[in-house]
């Protein structure tokens, strides 16, 4: 279907056009043009069909919005639900029970485990080991693939317990949850998570030893940071160059813009600079808040510095976060006491609501205006991948000259592997990557 790749090189010219990037979530393509060793164009084209979510939520109640925005992404629905629910609660001045806060963090841990295990084992690891898919990889590395699937199942079980199902959970409501959870229900997952933590620790060792291409990017990293915990639902927006911003104020520093080659709106700093979100940014900017077990695992790899600079090392960052999420989930389960009420009662009303959380792929920002009836009048939803798009393009441009000497297959693999390093979720950004290589005139 996509065997249209062609590549010719002469005196540092290269045109790569990947028209169907696989093992990413969604539909996109990659276009790269190099002339005389100089990169003229590096574009991540997103042709996932537009679904117009910001228009679809107009006229809806906050609880309806929580159900609707989940459908932006089947891989990270919790990220959309968490960002929306916190935005509404902050905007409407609703206090939540500390036990509800703990349950939401537990739910997010489940999604991080499910999403990271999917990416590490099923989408990314085949690149490093030279297979077209994890299913093919399983012929030679069955134990590793089974361990990855067990880890992924543990994340899904956590989301299923709190949310009812692994994809598009149903229990998150403004003020809390649609039902309460007994201690016995929550602690029933202890064994599953203990096993998951063991696998996650092995995963760190496995991916830290992978042969990784040399590459140093020089760009801005952005993440949430919280004084007492690894960032998920709360914190401040910080960057590698000293930004420190309330998470409701995302728009004062960043802005979305439309480019002709993408159905996703790209985000950049207001000064035009790209920035990178995600596991590597979080480890670099908020690594001092990792769970001690995860911090120790990271230290053992000796790769904290490389994670900050080499995107191919993001698989290590993801593995460390798998440890963090499993270890934190176990701590939350141990300490859990049910909330007094499943949800705080609240009254609909007008407000401006904004919030940011850390999705598995990085910072996600929502803003809503609610009218006098408490219905959405205006919405802005900024997923991580559309924010990363400009940084991915900049990194591709910086990396491209390094593959000029390689064969077509190797060049293509290296470039696809680089794009997969960012775990682009194009369904979120709007969707699919496709590499075609063509000759320059």
């Amino acid at each position: 279907m996509h065997d249209t790749d062609t590549l010719t090189e002469s005196s540092g010219d290269l045109a790569v056009d990947i028209a169907g990037l696989t093992r990413v979530e969604g539909e996109g393509s990659l276009r790269l043009k190099v002339r005389n060793g100089v990169v003229e164009q590096a574009r991540l084209e997103i042709f996932e069909a537009p679904r117009y979510f910001e228009r679809l939520v107009v006229g809806r109640t906050p609880d309806e919005v929580i159900d609707i925005v989940a459908r932006i992404c089947g891989i990270c629905p919790v990220a959309y639900q968490m960002t929306a629910v916190h935005a509404f609660e902050h905007g409407l001045g609703i206090e939540i029970d500390p036990a509800v806060r703990a349950l939401r963090r537990l739910l997010y841990c489940g999604e991080w485990i499910e999403s990271h295990a999917l990416h590490v084992y099923l989408l990314h690891l085949p690149d490093f080991l030279g297979y077209p898919s994890a299913l093919d990889m399983a012929h030679d590395y069955r134990a590793a693939v089974e361990a990855g699937l067990t880890l992924k199942r543990a994340g899904n079980k956590l989301v299923e317990m709190i949310g009812g199902r692994a994809i598009h959970p149903v229990s998150v409501r403004v003020g809390g949850f649609s039902r309460s959870f007994r201690r016995t229900e929550v602690s029933a997952l202890r064994e599953t998570l203990t096993a998951a933590l063991g696998i996650a620790l092995q995963t760190v060792d496995l991916v830290a030893g992978l042969d990784t291409p040399e590459f140093e990017r020089d760009g801005r990293l952005v993440a949430l940071k919280h004084p007492h915990e690894y960032p998920m639902n709360e914190g401040r927006i910080v960057s590698s160059d000293g930004l420190d911003l309330a998470l409701t104020d995302w728009r004062s520093e960043f802005a979305e813009q439309q480019v002709p080659w993408s159905n996703a709106l790209q985000s950049r700093g207001r000064d035009g600079r790209p920035y990178l979100l995600g596991p590597s940014s979080r480890i670099t900017l908020a690594g001092d808040q990792l769970h001690p077990t995860a911090a120790a695992a990271l230290a053992r790899t000796g790769l904290a510095g490389e994670i900050a600079r080499n995107p191919y090392r993001s698989i290590v960052a993801r593995a460390v976060e798998l440890v963090d999420a499993a270890a934190e989930a176990l701590d939350i389960i141990e300490a859990y006491q049910p909330p007094a009420e499943a949800a705080t009662r609240w009254r609909p009303g007008p407000c401006s609501a904004a919030w940011a959380t850390e999705a598995p792929r990085g910072l996600i920002f929502h803003a809503y205006e609610l009218d006098e009836q408490g219905l959405v009048a205006h919405a802005q939803i900024v997923p991580p991948t559309s924010q990363n798009q400009a940084a991915i393009e900049a990194d591709l441009a910086a990396f491209a000259p390094r593959v000029l000497h390689l064969s077509h297959d190797e060049a293509t693999l290296r470039i696809e592997q680089l794009v997969r390093s960012y775990d682009p979720c194009i369904s979120c950004a709007t969707h699919f990557l496709d590499l075609r290589v063509e000759n320059l005139p």
């Binding site: 107009v58 309806e64 089947g74 159905n263």
Partner: protein, 287 residues
């Protein structure tokens, strides 16, 4: 309803592999990837399934690609752009059986809410330069474009139903996919009726089961992920719901992830359209 220019449905494609080892493809259109992810969420069975079928096209999971032919092609997502309308016709012609998976493919999904809105207005709200973005005036189910052999409902589909479908496929029997109301599942689970006991609006009486009566079990009303069951009496439920709420709030309940399915659509139309209808419906044929 108004119809767009019909697209010639492709003829059924030939058999491709053997019945014991069918060639399977999974493709997507406008959707969230959640239904195809459900296959990867069958963690305990995934490798066993992969050993019994040839998974020749599944871009989310493998770099091996195939343009067909397929014994079974699973299709996720609604048809929302002119290019997708062409693609689905081409795919139908190379697929012996075509199976739609999920609310987007079977009913249009949440994005079909825009079918009630003015297309240009919708585009302009989301994109500063709508001209860069290509979409059809309506997001519609796959069956509006080509013949469909089977469907798995849900938003997302049920992992248990997907497993049942795949097992039936490789063992050569008919899949058991019940068409009964969520209410029956509630009774079997011993869940107290949230509508009767708590007055929570619930689409359970008119919605096909498959989720396991998930929402009532989690203390809220069913919101129709699996769409209407056969001969659902939506008018009767709407009348009952009208006792406690305004017409627009009755319409709102049906305006979810399977809103464009005819029985739910009729209720939305009868109650003034879906929420957020800033500009009234325009009768258009301008796809």
């Amino acid at each position: 309803m108004e119809t767009q220019a019909p697209i010639t449905p492709g003829r059924r494609g030939p058999r491709a592999g053997t019945p014991q080892r069918p060639r399977i493809g999974i493709v997507k259109f406008a959707s969230c990837d959640g239904c195809q992810l459900t296959l990867l969420d069958l963690e305990d069975e995934l490798l066993a399934i992969a050993a019994r079928v040839d998974l020749v096209e599944f871009a989310e999971a493998t770099s091996h690609r195939s343009a067909g032919p397929f014994d079974v092609l699973f299709v996720e997502g609604s048809i929302s752009t002119p290019e997708q309308a062409e693609d689905i016709a081409r795919l139908r012609a190379v697929s012996h059986r075509l199976v739609t998976i999920g609310a987007c493919a079977t009913a249009g999904g949440i994005q079909a809410i825009r079918n009630w809105f003015d297309h240009e207005e919708v585009r302009a709200v989301v994109y500063p330069q709508p001209g860069y973005v290509d979409s059809l005036a309506q997001a519609r189910p796959v069956a509006d474009f080509v013949a469909v052999d089977a469907e798995l409902r849900g938003c997302p589909i049920s992992p248990a139903q997907l497993r049942e479908f795949l097992v039936a496929l490789v063992t050569g029997r008919r899949p058991q996919l019940p068409d009964e109301a969520v209410c029956l599942e509630c009774k079997r689970r011993g869940v107290v009726c949230v509508a009767v006991a708590q007055g929570i609006p619930c689409l359970g009486p008119v919605t096909r089961t498959g989720c396991g009566a998930l929402c009532p079990a989690y203390g809220r009303g069913c919101y129709g992920c699996f769409g209407p069951r056969e001969s659902a009496n939506t008018a009767s439920l709407a009348k009952w719901l009208s006792d406690d709420r305004s017409a627009s709030d009755v319409g709102r309940l049906f305006a979810g992830f399977t809103a464009w399915s005819p029985p739910f659509r009729a209720m939305i139309d009868a109650h003034g359209g879906p929420p957020g209808q800033v500009i009234p419906v325009k009768e258009t044929n301008d796809a």
